[in-house]
C-alpha cells in the first residue's frame, strides 16, 4: 500500500529521520510508536507530502509518490487527520466537508441543498452520525475527528494516517473512536495509527513499528507481542515496573497523613458541573479524582485552583477559606495548578521556558515589581534540572519543545512556588512514555516532601500512584477506592456502572 525506503530528513544540524523504512500492507492497521522526538511527526509530513525527504523514496501502490506541489494527487493516495483540528468552527459540518469544492449550480452559485445532500451521503458512507447543518464548532472533539476522517477519505484515498487521535479524548470517546476505526477496517481502509498509548496499539492494531532517536528500531506483528518488549524498544532500556508507585508508597508510610488537611471542600457545588462534593486532601497525600469528561472532575479541580467560583459550599485551603474564583489568591495560598489543556491554559508558546516556568512566582524574580533575568534563569534552571526538561536552555521558546517537555514546563510552573497543594488535570495527556514517568515520579516526590496532590484524570496510569481515588459520575462523588484497585472496577466506576 505504502512503502518508505531509506527516508532521511535533516533540519540544520538535527537529523529528524535517519534512513528509516516503513511498509504498510493493504488493509492492515499499522501502529507507529515512539517517544516525542523519535521522528514520527516528520515521517507523517513526508508520507503526506508536506515535507520533501532529503534522501530515500516513498511509493504508493508500487508507484512513486506524486510531485510535492500536486496536492490533489497526494490527497488521492493518502489521507491524514492531524492532531489539531483543521475544521473551521463557524462553518457548518457540510461546508467544512466540501470547502473549496462546493457543488455549484447554474451561474456558478453554490447549491446549498446539494451540498448538504452530498455531505449526508458522505457521512453515511463512513457511518458517522452527525447533523451536517450544525456548526463544526459545536461538535465534540471526537465528532470533529469523525468528520475530519470522512473528509480526508472523500478525496479517494484508502490509506489514512491518524496522528495521535486519542490525545484529546476521554475514555468513552476513545472507545467510540475505536468502533469507528473498526468500521473503517471492515471497509478495507488501511490505517497508520500514531499513538503514545501502548494498550491502544494492542487493542486496535495488527502491526507495530517503533522509532527511536530518528531511527527505525523494530516492526513486529502485535499478536503475541509483550508490552515490556515494546517499551524496551521505545526507551532503549529495560523498564523498572512500578518505580513511581513505590515512591508514593513511601510518602504514605511517612506519617504525614495525620496532619491538618491542605484542602477541604464541604458541600461544594457548581451549577451545571458538580454538586455536594466533600473532599479532603492531607499533606503528602495523593488523591485521584477519577471520572469521564462530563463527570465534573475537571470543573471541581479548577474550582480548587481558583479558576472557577463555586455556587455553594465551602472550600478551605490550608485551613483558610479560599477566595472564590481568584487564581492569584489560590497561588498565594499555596496551590499549584497543571491545567487541563496545556496549549489552552498551560503556557505562552512564544515565551521562553524560563518566563513560562516562573510566571506564577513574579515576586521571586526581583525587588519592587522588577524582573532580574539572571534570577529568573537561575530559578528556571533548577526547575529544568528537577523535571529533566530537554531544552537548549532557559531562554528557548516553549513552542520549540516536544509535547512531553512542554508539559514538564507546565508542571514546573505549578511547582515553582513550592505549593502545599498541587492540582493536576489530565497531567499526562499527549505525553510520551518517558516524560510520563518523569512527571508522575515528580508527583510522588513532591508528595513525599509533604505537598498534597489532587489529580483529576480518567487515565488509569495517572491514578495508579494515588493513595486513594475518588470517582465522580454525573457531577457527584460516586465511589472511593483505596490504592490497589483493579482496572476493571475503576473503569466501571467511571462509567457509572455498579456504584460502590
Amino acid at each position: 500500500m505504502v512503502e518508505a525506503i531509506g527516508v532521511t530528513k535533516r533540519y540544520g544540524p538535527t537529523t529528524a529521520l535517519d534512513a528509516v523504512g516503513l511498509s504498510v500492507a493493504p488493509g492492515s492497521t499499522h501502529a507507529l510508536v515512539g517517544r516525542n522526538g523519535a521522528g514520527k511527526s516528520t515521517l507523517v509530513s513526508v508520507l503526506t507530502g508536506l515535507t520533501p525527504a532529503d534522501a530515500g523514496t516513498v511509493r504508493f501502490h508500487g508507484r512513486p509518490a506524486p510531485h510535492l506541489a500536486d496536492r490533489d494527487a497526494w490527497r488521492e493516495v493518502v489521507a491524514c487527520v492531524y492532531q489539531r483540528s483543521t475544521t473551521i468552527p463557524g462553518l457548518t459540518v457540510a461546508e467544512n466537508l466540501f470547502l473549496g469544492r462546493h457543488p455549484l449550480r447554474a451561474g456558478r452559485l453554490i447549491s446549498w441543498r446539494e451540498l448538504r445532500r452530498r455531505a449526508r451521503e458522505l457521512l453515511e458512507t463512513w457511518q458517522v452520525d452527525v447533523d451536517v447543518s450544525r456548526p463544526a464548532g459545536e461538535l465534540t472533539v471526537e465528532q470533529r475527528q469523525f468528520v475530519e476522517i470522512a473528509r480526508a477519505l472523500s478525496f479517494g484515498a484508502r490509506f489514512i494516517v491518524l496522528d495521535e487521535p486519542t490525545a484529546r479524548l476521554d475514555g468513552p470517546a476513545i472507545t467510540r473512536l475505536f468502533e469507528q476505526l473498526r468500521q473503517l477496517q471492515r471497509q478495507g481502509v488501511t490505517i497508520l495509527f500514531i499513538s503514545h498509548h501502548l494498550q491502544e496499539v494492542f487493542e486496535i492494531c495488527d502491526t507495530v513499528t517503533v522509532f527511536r532517536d530518528a531511527r527505525h528500531i523494530s516492526t513486529r506483528p502485535v499478536a503475541g507481542l509483550d508490552e515490556s518488549d515494546l517499551v524496551a524498544d521505545m526507551t532503549g532500556e529495560v523498564r523498572l515496573p512500578g518505580a513511581a508507585r513505590s515512591a508514593a508508597g513511601d510518602a504514605a508510610d511517612g506519617g504525614l497523613l495525620g496532619a491538618a488537611p491542605v484542602m477541604e471542600a464541604r458541600g461544594l457545588g457548581l451549577d451545571g458541573a458538580y454538586q455536594d462534593v466533600d473532599l479532603t486532601v492531607r499533606p503528602g497525600e495523593i488523591v485521584g479524582l477519577a471520572g469521564i469528561a462530563s463527570s465534573g472532575r475537571t470543573e471541581f479541580a479548577e474550582t480548587v485552583a481558583g479558576l472557577r467560583a463555586p455556587d455553594r459550599g465551602t472550600l478551605e485551603i490550608s485551613g483558610r477559606p479560599a477566595r472564590p474564583g481568584d487564581v492569584r489568591a489560590a497561588i498565594r495560598g499555596g496551590v499549584g495548578l497543571v491545567p487541563q489543556d496545556r496549549h489552552h491554559q498551560g503556557f505562552v508558546a512564544n515565551l521562553s521556558v524560563a518566563e513560562n516556568a516562573t510566571m506564577t512566582v513574579p515576586e521571586r524574580l526581583g525587588p519592587a515589581g522588577t524582573v532580574r533575568p539572571s534570577a529568573r534563569d537561575a530559578l528556571a534552571r533548577t526547575l529544568i534540572d528537577r523535571l529533566d526538561i530537554k531544552t537548549d536552555g532557559p531562554r528557548q521558546p516553549v513552542d520549540g519543545l516536544s509535547g512531553g517537555n512542554q508539559q514538564k514546563v507546565v508542571m514546573a510552573r505549578a511547582l515553582a512556588g513550592d505549593p502545599r497543594l498541587l492540582v493536576m488535570v489530565s497531567p499526562t495527556a499527549g505525553v510520551d512514555v518517558r516524560s510520563k514517568e518523569t512527571l508522575l515520579s515528580n508527583v510522588a516526590r513532591v508528595a513525599a516532601e509533604g505537598t498534597g496532590v489532587l489529580i483529576a484524570s480518567d487515565e488509569l496510569e495517572d491514578l495508579r500512584g494515588c493513595h486513594r481515588v475518588v470517582v465522580m459520575f454525573g457531577g457527584r462523588i460516586a465511589a472511593e477506592h483505596a490504592a490497589g484497585w483493579h482496572d476493571n472496577e475503576m473503569v466501571a466506576a467511571m462509567e457509572g456502572i455498579g456504584h460502590a
Binding site: L307, V327, R328, V348, L351, E355, P362, G393, R395, G400
Partner: protein, 335 residues
C-alpha cells in the same frame, strides 16, 4: 555588530539568544539608509540634521510606544491619533480666553493646560478600557468609534479652526532645549528607555507578553489579566496625549486635524519594528527602530529634493519597502 549577521542563517532560528537579537533586525537597514543618505547629501549625518529627524519623529514615536504596549497585550488602539489631537485641543479650549480670536472658554488659567491634557488622555484611556476590558467589546471597533468621535469633538470645540496663542506651559516641551538638544527628543528617548525597561524587566511588562500570547494561560498562572489590560490601554492614551502636547508645543498651535491619519504610520512603524498585530510578540526597542527607519528614509528623500507634492506617495511606498526590508532581514513572517 558581528553577531547580527547570524540572524538570517537558516537552521539557527531556534537558538534562544536569537530571541534578543531579533530586536536588532532593523539595524542593518538603518545603517544602509544612513550610508545612502550620506551619499545623497553630506548634510545627512550632521548633528543638526540628526536632531531634526529625531525631533520630527519624537511626537509620533511616543504614539508608537503607546501602540506597542497595546499590541503586545493582544489588543489595538486606533483612537490614539485622535487623543493625540483632542487632549491638547481641550486643554487649549478651556484655558484660552473667551471671545476675540482665541475662541476659548477661559475657565482655567494657563498653568492648568498641561495637567488638563494628561487628564483628557487618562479619561479617554479609562473609557476605552471600560468598553474593551469590562464590557468585552472588540478593541478594533471600540477604538475606531472612539477615533471618529474624538476627531469630531476636536472639530466641534475648535469650530474647525486652529488654536493659537497657547499658554506658555504648553509650549515648553516642544520648544525648550536641554544641552542643545530639544526637550521633546529627551522626553521621547526617556519614555522609550522606560518602555524597554518596563516591558523587558518588570512583572507588569512581562505579563503583557503572557496576556498577548495566551490570555488563558496567563490567567491560570495567576496574572490579573483584566487589571493589566486596564493599565496598558490607559497608559497608551496618556502617552498619546503627551505626544500631542509635544507636537502642539513645537508648532505652537492645535490644528483641528491634529493627528488625523497618523495612526497608519504608527501601525506601520510598530509592524516594521517586529511587533505582531496578533499580540505577544515584539519589543519596544524594535518599535523604536521601526519609526526611526521610516523617518530616516523620509529625510533622505527630502534631502534628495523630492517635490513636496510627491511626499505622500513616497511615504506610502516607504512603508511598503520598509516592511519588505524587515521581512528580509528578520526572516520571519509578519502578522
Amino acid at each position: 555588530m558581528p553577531d547580527n549577521a547570524t540572524v538570517t542563517l537558516p537552521g539557527m532560528r531556534r537558538l534562544p539568544a536569537l530571541a534578543r537579537l531579533r530586536d536588532l533586525a532593523l539595524i542593518p537597514a538603518i545603517i544602509v539608509v544612513a550610508i545612502v543618505g550620506q551619499a545623497v547629501n553630506p548634510v545627512f549625518l550632521e548633528g543638526g540634521n540628526i536632531i531634526n529627524v529625531l525631533q520630527t519623529m519624537s511626537e509620533i514615536a511616543v504614539m508608537v510606544l503607546a501602540e506597542t504596549l497595546v499590541l503586545v497585550a493582544g489588543k489595538m488602539d486606533l483612537s490614539l491619533e485622535a487623543t493625540f489631537g483632542l487632549a491638547p485641543g481641550i486643554a487649549a479650549w478651556i484655558c484660552l480666553p473667551a471671545g476675540g480670536s482665541a475662541h476659548g472658554l477661559g475657565w482655567l488659567g494657563g498653568a492648568w493646560s498641561v495637567p488638563l491634557t494628561l487628564l483628557v488622555g487618562l479619561a479617554i484611556g479609562l473609557l476605552n478600557s471600560l468598553l474593551i476590558v469590562r464590557f468585552g467589546l472588540s478593541a478594533f471597533i471600540v477604538t475606531l468609534g472612539m477615533q471618529i468621535t474624538l476627531h469630531g469633538m476636536l472639530t466641534g470645540i475648535s469650530g474647525g479652526k486652529t488654536f493659537f496663542n497657547l499658554p506658555s506651559s504648553m509650549l515648553y516641551i516642544g520648544t525648550a532645549e536641554w544641552g542643545g538638544v530639544p526637550v521633546s527628543i529627551w522626553l521621547c528617548l526617556v519614555l522609550f528607555a522606560a518602555g524597554v525597561g518596563v516591558l523587558g524587566w518588570t512583572r507588569a511588562g512581562r505579563s503583557l507578553y503572557a496576556i498577548g500570547g495566551n490570555t488563558d494561560a496567563a490567567k491560570a498562572a495567576g496574572i490579573r489579566t483584566d487589571r493589566v489590560l486596564w493599565v496598558a490601554i490607559t497608559t497608551a492614551s496618556v502617552l498619546a496625549a503627551v505626544g500631542g502636547l509635544m507636537l502642539t508645543g513645537r508648532l505652537a498651535s492645535v490644528a483641528a486635524a491634529q493627528g488625523t491619519g497618523d495612526i497608519f504610520t504608527v501601525f506601520a512603524a510598530a509592524v516594521i519594528g517586529g511587533v505582531s498585530l496578533n499580540g505577544g510578540k515584539g519589543t519596544v526597542f524594535g518599535a523604536f527602530t521601526g519609526i526611526l527607519l521610516l523617518y530616516m528614509i523620509q529625510n533622505v528623500l527630502t534631502l534628495a529634493g523630492v517635490p513636496a507634492q510627491w511626499i505622500g506617495a513616497f511615504n506610502g511606498a516607504i512603508i511598503l519597502v520598509a516592511l519588505i526590508l524587515s521581512r528580509i532581514t528578520s526572516g520571519k513572517r509578519q502578522e
